[in-house]
Structure formats: C-alpha cells, structure tokens
C-alpha cells in the first residue's frame, strides 16, 4: 500500500478513536450524561457564519471635509446555530462549558507532545528521546514557577512615551502560561546556541547540551521552590501537569498554534525518514541537513512549548506514545507522525478522564506515568525489540 494511503487510513482510524474517547470522556463525571446527549450538546454549540450584520456603534462621526460628519458602522459576522436539539440546559452547560474545553485541551496537548516526541526520537535516532530533551520542559517550568513565586514583580506600570503610564498585569493563569511558553523557547534556543558551531549542530552535542541545561534549570526550579512559601502547592501541581480549569480561550490559543506547526512537521516527514539513515547519507540524498534540523527543532520546540504552557509538564506522553505506535505502524514518519499525534491526544484525554474521575483530583502527569510505564514494559516484554 502507498505510504500516504496507509497514512490516511491510520489517521482516519486514529481520529475516529479520538472522537469516540472525547465523547465518552464528556459523558463521564459527577453527573453522568448519556453519549447521545453529549453529541447533541456539541452540535447545538456549533455556530457557522450566516451573514454580515451592521450595527450603529462603529467609528465616528468623523469630520470629512466637504461631506460632513461620517459614521462608519461596525461590521460583524453573524453566526447561526444550524442545530437545535432539545437538551437539558444544565447538561448543555456541563458538556460545552465545563468538560469540553478541558477534554479538547487534553487532546491538543497530547497531540502536541506525541508529535514533538516522535520528531525528537527520529531526530536523535534514539527511541528514548522525548520532547523535553532540548530543555523545553525545564525552561517552561522555570518560567511558570518564577511567575507563581513572584507574581507581583511581574505586574508593573510601564510609562510608554505617547500613551502615558500603562498598567501591565496578567491574570495568574495567563501569566503562568505566557512565562512557561517564553521560558520553554528561551531554553530550547539556549541549548541550540550552545550546541551550534560554524552553522553545524551535531546531534550528540545537542543531546548533551540539553542534559546540561536541563540539570541547571532543574536547580533553578528547586531553588524557586524553596522560596515559594504559600504557593508551593500550586508549583507542585503545575510541575506534575494538570488540565483542570481549562478555558475555551486556552483551547483556542493551543488550537491556533499546534495544528499549523504539526503541518510543518508532517511536510518534513520524508526528510525525517532519510535523516534516520544518518546525516551524511541524508546529505548525499539531497537533504539540506542543517536547515532541516533547524526547522524540525524550531517547530517541535514551539509545539512542545504550546503543549506545556497551559498544562504544565506532562511526562511520558511524548516518550511512550511514539514508541508504542512505532511498534504498531512501523518507522515511516509519513504514517507514524499523524497516527502517533492522534494517539497522543486520545491517550491524554483518557488519562485525564481517570485523573478527574477519582475521589480527589490527581494531576494528570501521575496518571500518564502510572499507566504509561507498565504498558511500555508490557510492550517490551511481549514484542521483541531487537535493536534500538
């Protein structure tokens, strides 16, 4: 079968499974909601652009010479809901307002971590690599923990030259995410800069630079935890990974960042295959190796950063899911990358469902590790892994 046909088949199967798990997860919770009600609620929430409507409150009136005062009306897209199933409004609110953002964030984060993990394992030609290997997770942790420990210092008044003093303040959640995102990218870029000489970035140097930076940032996080005082519990929760309290805005931001970057990674799937032969051979086969490596590193760092910014450090998804899928679909990244990404989303949705169904809510990172590690061991024992 053609690789892209296989890819489409596996992706369709993965997407179907993800959809089933999403609906199932939305049905589970303190209030049990039948799956068909979940689907009706989701469809009710769908809004499509139906036309353009104008309203009076636009710009103006503007004094236009010769014409007189002109008021430009504001133009808005009008949305219409094509579906109107009769659903209990409480159920509707629970599904769409509470559960769905959390589930979709879990799906997106799992998708992001698994795709970045797949790329990193191929990039480093090492199945034990994961998205945190280039310092992304530790950088995110430093950023997030710093914001949690010193929130006041980060709400400042800046005197802008024209507009006068502007109060810049971030809400706690948004600030943590922003600082985590920025911290992740700074750490990844730092690792890349350390490992790059004369425009060449040897993979082995990159790996070791990643280890060094991770160790250093780990020390910084430990120090910050000592200074944390009251907010220590919050830090621990962030470091373990959590999806509680997810908002639609977070889903929207993640959805805007992750899929386009995933498309970039998928476009490089064949190059990633060739890179597995070794860099010198890849060059011989017409791959611009250093440029390809930069693209792959930048895209996976961004994808991972987007994944950890809202959800914190969730381990094992980026390590184990690509490995599991490689055993199932083989090493061809044209097939592996989309199927691993979708499986990552499915896995994290399922893990988070367990996390929030327990009597006391657990950080999802505990669940992913507790479920993932034994499954990994099961795979190793039952399937012959001849070579790494």
């Amino acid at each position: 079968m053609r690789p892209w046909v296989r890819s489409a088949a596996w992706s369709a199967a993965g997407a179907a499974l993800l959809a089933v798990v999403v609906v199932g997860s939305a049905a589970i919770g303190p209030v049990r909601i039948p799956p068909e009600t979940v689907m009706k609620s989701v469809l009710n929430a769908v809004a499509v652009p139906a036309g353009i409507e104008t309203s009076a409150g636009g710009v103006g009136p503007l004094p236009i010479p010769g014409v007189g005062p002109l008021t430009i009306p504001s133009v808005d897209l009008a949305f219409a809901s094509p579906f109107a199933f009769p659903v209990d409004s409480v159920h509707q609110q629970i599904v769409v307002g509470v559960r769905l953002p959390r589930i979709l964030l879990a799906a997106l984060v799992g998708f992001a971590l698994a795709s970045a993990g797949t790329v990193m394992q191929g990039f480093f030609r090492n199945p034990m690599a994961d998205p945190s290997i280039i310092g992304v997770s530790s950088g995110a942790a430093v950023g997030a923990v710093a914001f949690i420990v010193f929130p006041a210092a980060l709400s400042t008044t800046i005197a802008l030259p024209l507009l006068g003093p502007v109060e810049v303040a971030l809400s706690r959640g948004a600030g943590t995410s922003l600082f985590a995102f920025v911290g992740a990218l700074v750490a990844a870029f730092g690792v890349y800069a350390i490992a790059t000489r004369n425009g060449r970035t040897p993979v082995a140097t990159l790996l070791l630079a990643g280890v060094a930076v991770q160790t250093f940032l780990g020390a910084v996080v430990s120090y910050l935890q000592l200074q944390a005082g009251e907010s220590l519990r919050q830090i621990v929760a962030w470091l373990m990974g959590h999806l509680s309290g997810a908002a639609w805005s977070e889903v929207a931001v993640t959805a805007a960042v992750v899929p386009p970057l995933f498309a970039v990674l998928l476009a490089y799937a064949r190059d990633l295959n060739v890179l597995l032969l070794g860099e010198e051979e890849a060059r011989g086969l017409g791959i611009a190796v250093e440029r390809t490596k930069r693209v792959l590193l930048a895209a996976s760092a961004l994808v991972t950063a987007a994944g950890v910014a809202f959800a914190g450090v969730i381990g094992f998804v980026g390590l184990i899911v690509p490995h599991m899928l490689r055993l199932v679909v083989g090493p061809d990244h044209r097939v592996l990358l989309p199927s691993a990404a979708l499986a990552g989303g499915t896995f994290l949705v399922a893990a988070d469902t367990v996390a929030r169904s327990a009597a006391a809510e657990y950080p999802v990172g505990i669940i992913t590790a507790a479920v993932g590690a034994p499954f990994f061991v099961y795979l190793l024992v039952t399937r012959e892994v001849t070579e790494l």
Binding site: W4, N126, N273, R283, G284, A288, E387
Partner: protein
C-alpha cells in the same frame, strides 16, 4: 549480476548528462581534522565512461577523499567540480541528483523495509509535496532487480545480513539515477559471487558511456581487473595514477603499502595480480636461480619482492619461472625444450651464475631432496645442461620446492654472508 543477466539497459535511466565535461574534477584538495592533515594535494578526475579505483593502505585517506567529493567534509583547500560546476555552488539537492554514494557501513537504527530504503534514493528527485510517481517506481524496481535485492524487498533492513544490506545500499544509489557513482569499499562484506557481480554491475553502469564511477577498493586484483584508472593513495597524497597495468607496479605498491610486493598476472583474467609479503629488510643481492616450473617461479617472485635481483636459466620459454622473471623485470635465459641449448645460451647462463652473489637450485616436486639429515642433495635439477650452469657458480644452495619465503631469504643471507 553477470552481464548476460542484467544488461546495462536494465539500470535506471540517468536523466542528467554533462556531455564531455568530466563528471568529477578535483584539484589540489586538502582536508585536515584539527592539526591532522588527512589528505593534501589530491587531484582526481572521473571522465564519462570510466571507473576509477582508489587504492591505498588503511588510513591513506580514501574515504576522506570520497567524503570531500560529496561535501560531507569541507576541503580546507582546493576545488571540487561535479559535472563542470564547483561543488560548493550546488545545493544539496543538486548534488544528490549528480552524485550517488554507496557508503561503507551504516547503522540503521529503525527497521525500515528494504524497499523503503531503496525508495529513499529517489529523495533528490522529489519535491516536498510530491508523491512517488511512475518514473520513481520504475527506477526503484530496476535498481532492486539490478542489485539482486528484489527477493527480500519486504524484509526489515535490520534483519538482512551485512552483505545483503550493502547490496540494498547499492540499489538505493542506483535508484538515485545520478551520473556519478561513489562507492566506498563496495565489496568489503560481500561473498565472492556477489563481489564480482557488484563490480560487473558498476562496470555495466559506466560502460553506458555518459556515467562514471569512483570506488575505494582494498582488493588490488579487483581494482586491476575492473578499473580503467587506478589512483594510489598513501599518507594522504596521490602516489601514482593511471591505467592499472602501469600504476600497479611492484615499486609503487610496495612503497604505498610499505610492504614487499610482487606483481604478476592473474592466470584467469590476465589482469595484474598483486601479492604482498611481509617486510624482510634484506640486503639486495644478485641471485641466480636454477629450476623450472611453479616452485621456481615462486622463488623468483619472493626474491624480487624482497629487493634481490634474481635471474633464471636455463628454462624453456613459456615456463612459469620465465613468466615470473618477466613480471619481475629479471633476466631469464631460455632454450627450447627437448634439445640441447646452444653454446651461446649456456654461456649466458653460466655467466649469470658466476656473477651472482648466490645461486639457488630449486628441486622439482618429483625429485624432492631429503632434508632429514644433513644438507639436501638436489635431484633432477642441476642435471643436463643446468649441471654446467651450477658448476659455474661459486656455491650452489639446494632449495626444497616447498621452502617458505623466510627459509629462502635466510638461505640467501647465510650464503652471501659466508662469502664476504
């Protein structure tokens, strides 16, 4: 891949052609790793239709030369032109369309199917969003058939043997359909059958006319048999270059490999056949050899390789000993068999024997001297006319037909030391 099973037309078509421009032209190339100069002043040319063999001892820089051509290492000095254009001005993709490499060894960490690995050869011909087309499939099929890997196309590359893997990499390079083929020890882990078939395939590849190949080959006999030109590398520089018959001389090979070499003829192919011996560090002597046939030829070859100046006679023309003498550039006095040699011939042989520092009489297999007690008496050699030759010598040392090289050289050394 004997020639009748895979005619050149079954190889993937090469789209690119550079007309009369050399496929590869490297001049004064130097590469150093840190303070270590690996190669320097290397000049190379690969013309369309020719197979160039790169030979030399381990560490001579053969692989580094090939890597400098592909751009895997950047030369510190000198220029590399591929198809008339400076390699540095070509993009990776352009180089991939012009040069296909068969690497020496690869460690494939992930278990790709064999066919998938060969398909990767098409990478330089595909845009980022192109799927494999009919042309790509045809090239992959042809390459797999030519390299004899189609039988296990669905096996994992990690499951095939080392030799099979090397042929998979050859198939990948053929699928790349580039006019210049670079091979680094292509026969290193192949059995004798596939080694010959691989070289026949490369020969067919270049005989097409527009294509060329350069191969690092450790097997000098194979290089002599298949290459149009041989470049001898030693200590990071080109020691000799040219047709195999002229380049693969005892002195060039001996100097390049720091060994004692004898270059004879392969009886089956007629190509130069190189035999290397360990160092003996003997003082050069004039040695006359009396005897016939292969045992005597062997003695002459070993003496010549050690730096002695052998001569032979009287032997029938066409005798193996006469052939060895000719290959060694030594004098052989010949006379037709079954008749008495002329007085002039005998005189010449007597003079050589008298002039020599030592004269060795090699026994025949039938008349093997007994060496159990005391000095052996040579039977069946110094009889007839050769008895006269032996009589002319100061001293004659009998040599068993299966004496080792070391015994031979010791005998010469002992004899000549006594004489001083």
């Amino acid at each position: 891949m004997s020639a009748d099973r895979s005619p050149p037309s079954s190889l993937p078509d090469t789209a690119l052609s550079f007309g009369d421009a050399p496929l590869l032209s490297a001049s004064d190339v130097a590469v150093s790793f840190g303070d270590l100069d690996v190669i320097s002043g290397v000049d190379l040319r690969v013309e369309p239709g020719s197979l160039v063999g790169l030979v030399g001892p381990n560490g001579a820089g053969k692989t580094t030369v090939l890597r400098a051509v592909t751009g895997a290492v950047e030369p510190d000095a000198g220029t590399v032109e591929i198809g008339g254009d400076p390699a540095a001005s070509l993009s990776a993709k352009q180089v991939g369309r012009r040069v296909a490499s068969v690497p020496q060894a690869t460690n494939l960490a992930f278990d790709f199917r064999v066919r998938h690995v060969v398909e990767m050869g098409r990478t330089p011909h595909l845009g980022r969003f192109d799927a494999h087309g009919v042309e790509d499939d045809a090239a992959v099929d042809a390459a797999m058939a030519a390299a004899d890997v189609a039988r296990f196309d669905d096996r994992s590359i990690t499951e095939v043997s080392g030799g099979e893997r090397q042929r998979v990499l050859l198939a990948r390079a053929l699928a790349q359909a580039a006019p210049l083929l670079l091979l680094d020890e292509p026969t290193a882990s192949l059995d004798v059958n596939h080694a010959v078939e691989t070289l026949e395939l490369v020969r067919a590849f270049v005989d097409d006319g527009d294509r060329g190949a350069i191969a690092a080959i450790h097997d000098l006999d194979a290089a002599a048999r298949y290459c149009d030109e041989v470049v001898v590398l030693a200590n990071g520089g080109v020691r000799a270059a040219g047709p195999p018959e002229s380049v693969l001389s005892a002195s060039t090979v001996g100097a390049a490999f720091d060994a004692e070499a004898f270059v004879g003829r392969d009886p089956a192919t007629g190509a130069p056949a190189v035999t290397a011996f360990p160092h003996s560090d003997v003082e050069s002597r004039r040695v006359h050899v009396i005897g016939r046939g292969r045992p005597t030829a062997r003695v002459v070859a070993r003496l010549a390789a050690a730096g002695h100046e052998p001569s032979v006679g009287v032997v029938p023309p066409g005798d193996a000993a006469a052939g060895a003498a000719a290959d060694a550039g030594a004098t052989a006095v010949t006379a037709p068999p079954f008749e008495a040699p002329s007085e002039a011939t005998l005189a010449a042989a007597r003079e050589l024997a008298a002039d020599a520092d030592a004269t060795l009489a090699v026994g025949t297999a039938e008349g093997r001297p007994t060496t159990a007690d005391g000095p052996a008496e040579v039977v069946g050699v110094a009889d007839g006319p050769n008895a006269e030759v032996a009589a002319a010598a100061d001293r004659v040392v009998p040599v068993s037909p299966d004496a080792s090289g070391a015994e031979l050289l010791d005998a010469v050394a002992a004899t000549t030391a006594d004489g001083e």
